[in-house]
Every structure is written in C-alpha cells, then in structure tokens.
Amino acid sequence: MNLTLKSKLLIAGGFLVFVFLFIPFFISFSGRSDFYFTLTSVALLSIASAGVWLTFYIGRINIGQGAFSLIGAYVSAILVMKAGMNFWLTLPLAGLFTAFVSVLIGLPILRLKGVYFAMITLVLTQVVTLTALALPITNGARGIVSIPLPRELSVFGVTLIPDLGTMDNPKLAFYLISCVLMVLTYWVLYRLVNSRLGQICRSMQQNEELASSIGINIAYVRIIVFAISSFFGGIGGSMFGAIAQSVYPSTFQVKDSIDFMLNCFLGGLGYVFGPLLGTFVLYFGWDLLFILDKFQLLVYASIVIILMRFLPNGLLSIRFSNLRRKSD
C-alpha cells in the first residue's frame, strides 16, 4: 500500500479514537451495553486471526488456530483456579505455553505444504478438543466454570488494571483491555511484516527452495513464525475464557478454526489489517443474519462464497487494488 506516512497516522489515529472514545460513548448513550460483548469478542477473535494470517504469510494454510486458542484458555483457567494465580500473570504464560506446544507440533508438520498442512491443522483442533474431554485437569465435558473475574494488576504499588470483580462496569473494562491487546497485536504484526523477518517470510511464501538456496534457514523461520502465530491464538483464547468466566472443550471448535481462516481470506491475505476487518465483517454478518433463522447458515455461506469469488484478494483490495498494482 502506497499510503503516505501522514495518511497512515491519520487512519491509525482515527481508528483509535473510534475504538476507545466513540464506541464507549455511543454505547453509554444508546444503553446497548450488550454490544460490548460482541465487540470484545471481535477484538479477541481478531487477535487469533492475526496469528492465522501470519502463517499464511509463510505460505501455510492454518486451520488449527482453534486448538491453540483452546489451549490458551485452559492454561489460564487452570492456573487461576488450581494455583490461585492472578489472571493477568497467566495471560502471558498462556501465550508462551501455547507457543511452546506449537513448536513441538510444528517441528514435524511445518515441513508439509498446501493441502497436507491444512488437513493436519484441521485435525489438530479436534485432537485438542478430545484431549480436553479426556484429561482430569481440564475437567472433561463439564469444563472449568465459575472462574472469578481477574483481580487487580499492580506494578510497584501502581494499579494498572483495577480488580474487575469490584467494578461497576467490568464489560467496559474488558472491552477496553481487549482493544488494547488487539491494537498491540496488530502493531506487532505490522512491524514484523515491515522488518527483515517480514521480507524473509515473503520470499519463503514465493519459493521455499529458492529461499533456502540463498542461505535462509527456512525450518527455523517457519518454527518462529508458527510460534508467534500460536502465541496470538493463546492470548486470544485466554482472554476469551476470562470474559466468559468458563472454558469448555467446545469453547473453540473446528468451526472456529475455519472462521479464523475465513477472516483472513475475507479481509485479504495481502493486508496486515485484513484479518481485523474480516473478523469484524464475518462476526457481525453472522449476527445480523440472525433474523433469517433457519436460512442463516445458507445465506451466510452463499455470501462468503460470492465475496471470495469476486474479491479473491479480500475486502481491503477494493480500495487499494490500483495502488497495489503500482507499488508491488
């Protein structure tokens, strides 16, 4: 995208004002505080989608992010419930643990490409769901419930996040925190794509053998990228569990994994902010089609197919298609 720095800053600033000021004001005036849950979900799901987008960036179709989100959700739930830890400490641990698991899984499977990698990741979500059903520590199908709201987070006596349990409006707090995490995620993603590692990823996406022949350690890069990708999945999942105050094996299912992937496709694989837009549109689209009742899935699926047919490069390509052709 050939935007000038000034217009980039304007768009970013406008987005922040919209998310952090306009929406809270709008909701408090309209009294529709149920919107908070929807928008918070969009923010968190877009974090997980950002991870999926990153695996696309090294040329791998990832339909397994639900697995990593579920792992992240369980790690936090277990640490809070069994070890009595503060949720805010468990959040990074959930991300790291998920990244660690993804390295173990990635070592054998990242060698695969195309449909083979996609199929294995698809099965992965099912495997994690079944594992959660079977293990004692995850409490099987009954899941982990009645998780207390996150306690206060303070550093050197300074309260960064107040105790959500004692707040009048924890929904607003969750919304704001989730949006901060979302902004951080996409900032990291943006920096990454514009870094040396981003350049390496692009070269690997275009031709792995060639990338390897110029001296890139492609196996290593793949693992790193997959770990970052899964880290995002774990963070999104962990936050999701904290808001729902419960985690079940069905909290993230194969359908969620597919949705994460669709979010990326729909928003545009060529754009860092594609998965963000894709998550928003798909989530709201699905909700709005609620009025169609039993035709909801049919119409929804048809619209997705039509969009992909006519906008193969995603929604963001509408506006930038001309610029893109010129710049790269």
Binding site: Q199, I200, S203, L210, S212, I214, G215, D328
Partner: protein, 237 residues
C-alpha cells in the same frame, strides 16, 4: 578448493549420482556437461546441502561440507544460481538483490556490491523497482546472477544460465561469467546443456552420463574430442 569424492546420492531409491569424484582449483572455471537427467543439478544440490548425499565426501577449503546446513554453506561463500531463472516474482528487483546478501555480516559493504552488480547489468538498474516476475527471461537471468554476486561468493555454482535464452544474450551471459571469474576472482562451476559455450569459456570440464563422470579433461581438448563431439556437441558448428 572444492573436492567431491565418491559421492552417491539418490532420491527415493532412484540413483541420481553414482560415485562422483570431481575437484575445482581456486580461480578455475570448470564446466559440467551432460544430457537431461544426467545428474548435473543434483551435484550442485549436493554441494549446497539442498540434497543430502548418501555416501562419499565433500571438502571445501579443507573442511568437510557434508554435515553443514545450506545457510552455513552459503555463508562460507558457496553460492548457487539455481536452474530455471528462479526469482522471487512478487519482490522488486531491488529486494531480490538484497535477499542475495542475506547471509552477509559486513552490512556496510552491501551497498557497494549493489552498485557493482548494477554496473555489470545496467538493465537491472532501469528495472530497479519493478516486480521481478515481470522481467523478460534474459533480464531474470541477469537478476539471478546478480543476486548470487550479492552474496559475495568465493565459489559460484551456475545451473544452466543459458537455458531458453536468445543466442545474442547467451554471449552476454558467457562474457559476464568470464568477467566475474577473472575480475572478481570467483571460482566457477558451470552446469550447461550448451556444451560448446561451456567448453569455450572453461578451463576444465566433466561430462556426465547417468550419474557418472564419463569423460573429463581440459576444455580445449574436450572441444576436439571425438566422443564429446558425438555425444554433446551434435551437428552444430
């Protein structure tokens, strides 16, 4: 400088190389000729670690190569220009060249290498910001050679640089190879189907038949060798 001894390599039980022994002295240009499927590319892949050899030894400047990953081999100065003019199609010419310098640690001197590559191939300068996939075949070949030079090679492995290129450009490419070898003291291992060109710009040559070296010697002698003429030079003058 480089020595391969009794190298064997197979893919899924199909032998590609049987007991290959070749060597390169510092500063030489050595040609590797042979028919399709003779194993020429496999030799280059074995040297760069892209294909793991089954047995035999490979030493470069006295050090064993067989266990090293490709990234380390490139770092030590062995750089391959793969078959089929392979560029990163959606990256610009400039980014393609920069990727070539990936393993270099002397970041300050990369700019100077870029200058010298652009001086050698002025066409690339004109197309600097263009996506590499939109270049013509000949320009892409210049780009891949330029990209290899960006790595500051000590040993350059070229896989069929003349393939699918107009005769006029083949001469340019041949001249560039001679120039790189003489002026930049780069040792060259040149794989070619265009045996006449390869033999005329190299010091020594190996002819390969189904994974084995069948004839080897001085390039000038090989040009006049009856067996070579019959098998590799065909009726062409």
């Amino acid at each position: 400088m480089l020595e391969l001894k009794d190298v064997e390599l197979y893919y899924d039980h199909v032998y590609a190389l049987r007991s290959i022994s070749i060597y390169l002295n510092q500063g030489e240009t050595v040609a590797l000729i042979g028919a399709n499927g003779a194993g020429k590319s496999s030799i280059l892949k074995a040297i760069t670690g892209l294909a793991k050899i089954h047995s035999g030894s490979m030493t470069y400047q006295g050090q064993d190569l067989t266990q090293l990953p490709t990234s380390t081999i490139v770092e030590r100065g062995i750089v391959m220009v793969p078959e089929g003019r392979r560029v990163f199609p959606f990256l610009s010419v400039s980014d393609n060249l920069k990727m070539g310098a990936f393993t270099r640690t002397d970041k300050g001197e990369i700019e100077a290498s870029m200058e010298s590559v652009l001086e050698r191939f002025p066409r690339l300068k004109e197309r600097f910001r263009q996506a590499a996939g939109t270049l013509s075949g000949g320009e892409q070949q210049m780009l891949v050679i330029g990209r290899a030079l960006m790595a500051k090679p000590k040993l350059l492995l070229l896989d069929e640089p003349s393939l699918g290129i107009a005769p006029k450009l083949v001469q340019d490419i041949a001249r560039a190879i001679v120039n790189i070898n003489r002026n930049e003291q780069v040792t060259v291992l040149l794989v070619e189907q265009n045996s006449r060109m390869a033999l005329s710009i190299s010091n020594r040559a190996y002819a390969l038949t189904t994974g084995k070296v069948s004839i080897s010697g001085d390039s000038r002698d090989m040009l006049h060798d009856e067996r070579v003429k019959a098998a590799y030079l065909g009726g062409e003058i």
